[in-house]
C-alpha cells in the first residue's frame, strides 16, 4: 500500500506532458507496413487504391488513374490491374499517412512502365486496335502533361535553366513553364482526339470524343479543386479541436499551475496538484456520463474529489460495474461520502481507499484507511453520530453497514444495499 511518502515524494517531475491517447493497438509493425500497400485515406475516387499506389510510387495519383483508364481501353486489363491493386492493399490505419511528393523521375519511369505494358498487351493480342488505343494514350499523356504537379526540386532546376538567359532560358521560367506545359498538353489531347476521329468519322462520335477531351483537360482540375476543399475542411476541424483542447487546458491546468506558484503552503500545493490531476484524468480517460443522467461512478468520483480537496488526503477510487444514479445508489454515494470525510478528518491516514462494486442485484462499497483506528466501545460522541447516520441510511433501503476498526489497525466501512426494493 502506498505509504505516507506517496505524494510528497513525487512532485510535478513525475507528471508527463499530455500526449495523444492513440490506442497503441493501432501501431502496425514497421516491416509489415513496408510490404503492404495502404490505400489512400484522403485521396480517393473509388476506393483509394490508385491514390495509395500513387503515394507509394511517388507518382501523381491522377496519372495512376489515367493509366488504369488507358489500360482498360487496351482490352480491359486496367480493370483487372485495378482489382489486383485493390485486393493487395489495406485500409489506411491513420489519416496522416506520409505522402511522398511526386517526382519527375518516378513519373517518367511510371509512364515508361505503362507504355511497356501497352506494347506487351498489343503483342499478346489483348488489344482493341491501334486506332483506338494509341490516340487514347496520346490524349492521356497530354492530360498528364497538363496536370502533373512539378515538385520543388524540379522548380529549382527550372529556375537554374531560366538563369541561362536568352530566348531558350525564358522558356524555362517557372511561371512560363505552366503555360508551355498546358499548351503542349492540350495539343497532345487534341492530336489524340483528331487522329481517332480521322479514322472513324461521325457526328455522334465527334461529340463524345470532344466531351472526353474536355474531361481529360478539365477533369483533374475539378477533382483537385474538390480535394482542396475537403483538405481545408479537415484542417479547419483539426484547428477547432486544437482550440478546444487549448481552451480546456487554459481554464484548468494553466490556472492551477499559476495558483501553485503563488502558494507558499506545501500542503495546499499538493492539494491543488492532486485536484487538478483528478480533473485532468477524468477529462482524458474518464467514463463519459450521458448528458441527461448521472452515472454512479462519475458521481462517486466527484464526491471523492471534493473530499480530497477539502481534507488534503489522497482518495483512491476503484469502481467495478456501473449504473444510473437513482434514489438507492445516491444514498450509497452519500454514505460513502460521509465515511470518506470521516476517515479523512479523523484517521490521520494519508490515503483513503474507496472500492465500489455494482452488480445487477446489489451495490457493495468499502471505505478503507490505515489510520489510527479506534475501539468501537469507546468512541467519542461525534464519531458515533456519523457511524449511526451511515448505518441508519443503509438500513432505510434494506441494506447494511458494518464498521470494523481497532486502535492502530485502521478502519474499514463496508456498505451493501440491494438495488431494488424487495
Amino acid at each position: 500500500m502506498p505509504g505516507p511518502a506517496a505524494l510528497c515524494h513525487h512532485g510535478p517531475a513525475t507528471r508527463k506532458p499530455t500526449r495523444s491517447v492513440t490506442p497503441i493497438t493501432s501501431t502496425a509493425p514497421p516491416l509489415g507496413r513496408a510490404l503492404r500497400l495502404a490505400r489512400s485515406a484522403t485521396d480517393r475516387v473509388l476506393t483509394g487504391a490508385a491514390g495509395g499506389l500513387g503515394e507509394r510510387l511517388a507518382v501523381d495519383p491522377i496519372l495512376v488513374r489515367v493509366a488504369f483508364g488507358v489500360l482498360t481501353l487496351a482490352g480491359g486489363m486496367g480493370v483487372l490491374a485495378y482489382l489486383l491493386v485493390w485486393t493487395l492493399s489495406d485500409e489506411p490505419q491513420t489519416e496522416a499517412e506520409v505522402r511522398r511528393p511526386p517526382t519527375s523521375t518516378s513519373t517518367t519511369a511510371f509512364g515508361l512502365v505503362v507504355l511497356g505494358l501497352l506494347l506487351v498487351l498489343r503483342d499478346v493480342g489483348l488489344w482493341l486496335g491501334n486506332g483506338i488505343v494509341w490516340p487514347a494514350a496520346l490524349a492521356a499523356v497530354g492530360s498528364a502533361v497538363i496536370w502533373t504537379r512539378s515538385d520543388d526540386a524540379e522548380r529549382a532546376r527550372l529556375s537554374r535553366l531560366a538563369g541561362i538567359g536568352g530566348p531558350l532560358g525564358a522558356l524555362f521560367d517557372p511561371g512560363r513553364v505552366t503555360w508551355v506545359r498546358m499548351g503542349a498538353g492540350a495539343l497532345l489531347v487534341a492530336i489524340g482526339m483528331a487522329s481517332f476521329l480521322d479514322q472513324a468519322p461521325g457526328l455522334l462520335l465527334a461529340v463524345m470524343v470532344t466531351l472526353l477531351g474536355a474531361v481529360l483537360v478539365l477533369g483533374p482540375w475539378i477533382a483537385r479543386l474538390g480535394r482542396q476543399v475537403s483538405d481545408e475542411r479537415r484542417a479547419r476541424i483539426r484547428s477547432e479541436e486544437r482550440a478546444e483542447v487549448a481552451a480546456h487546458l487554459h481554464d484548468s491546468v494553466l490556472q492551477t499551475l499559476a495558483l501553485i506558484q503563488r502558494t507558499s503552503e506545501p500542503g495546499e500545493m499538493v492539494a491543488l496538484a492532486r485536484g487538478q490531476e483528478r480533473e485532468l484524468r477524468a477529462w482524458l480517460y474518464g467514463r463519459r456520463a450521458p448528458p441527461d443522467a448521472d452515472l454512479l461512478s462519475t458521481t462517486l468520483e466527484e464526491v471523492a474529489g471534493r473530499a480530497e480537496e477539502h481534507h488534503q488526503v489522497k482518495i483512491e477510487v476503484v469502481v467495478v460495474g456501473d449504473g444510473p444514479l437513482d434514489e438507492r445508489s445516491a444514498a450509497v454515494v452519500r454514505a460513502v461520502g460521509e465515511a470518506v470525510t470521516n476517515a479523512a478528518a479523523h484517521s490521520g491516514a494519508d490515503i483513503v481507499q474507496v472500492y465500489m462494486e455494482v452488480d445487477p442485484a446489489t451495490i457493495t462499497a468499502y471505505v478503507t484507511d490505515e489510520g489510527i483506528g479506534f475501539a468501537l466501545a469507546d468512541v467519542s460522541e461525534d464519531r458515533r453520530g456519523i457511524a449511526d447516520s451511515i448505518v441508519g441510511r443503509m438500513g432505510r433501503y434494506g441494506g447494511t453497514a458494518t464498521i470494523t476498526s481497532e486502535p492502530g489497525e485502521g478502519t474499514e466501512v463496508h456498505l451493501t444495499v440491494p438495488r431494488h426494493a424487495s
Binding site: 500500500m1 502506498p2 505509504g3 508527463k16 497503441i24 493497438t25 482524458l284 467514463r287 476503484v318 467495478v320
Partner: protein, 214 residues
Amino acid sequence: MTAARTRVFLVDDHALFLSGVRSELAEEFDIVGAASDVDAAMAGIRNTAPHVVLLDVHMPGGGARTVIEGIAPTHHDVRFLALSVSDAAEDVIAVVRAGARGYVTKTIAPPDLADAIRRVRDGDAVFSPRLAGFVLDAFSGEGPQPSDPELDALTPREREVLRHIARGLAYKQIARRLDISVKTVETHVSSVLRKLQLSSRYELTRWATDRRLV
C-alpha cells in the same frame, strides 16, 4: 533465486522521472541501464540481460507493447513491469496482455515500487488496486457462455482476492483475512494474470476499448 542483486533496466522517455527512479532504486537494485525510446530500449535490454525491465507505457516509436513483443520471444528470463501515469483501461490491458507481469501507476510510493520489482523478479504478478478493478470489470460481463471456462472466467476465490486488492489491502492483510498464506494469494494473482494474458474472451478487448466511449 540467486543471492545476487536484482538487475533492473529502466525505460522512460521522461528524463526527470528516469533520474528520480534511478536514485530511489539504486540502493537496493543494480540499475544496469536506461533508455528513453523503443529502439534504444531493445538494444540495451539485449546487451545487459536484466532481471526486470521497468518500462513506461507510452513512448515515442511504439510504446511498451513494442518493446515487450520484441524482447519476450527471445529472452524468456526478462520480466516486465509496466509503469504509467495513464489510467486508460485500454493501455493497461494491452500492455499486460502483451506480457507485462504487472502494472503500477507513477504515483506509487518508492518502497512499494521496490516491493513490486522484487515480486516481479520472483515471477509473481503485481496488480495495483485500479488494475484489479479493471480485471474484475472486464471479466464480469455476462454475455454468451465463455468458450474456454478455464481461461475465460475467474474462480470465486480469485474474484475474492482481486476484490481485496481493489480495496487497497496488501497481500499480507488479504492472506490474514482469507486465512490463507501470502504464497497462496500470490498464486491466485498469478493465475488471474495468466487468464488475462491468454483468454481469448471477446469481451476483454472490446470492453477495454469501449470503456472510454460509453
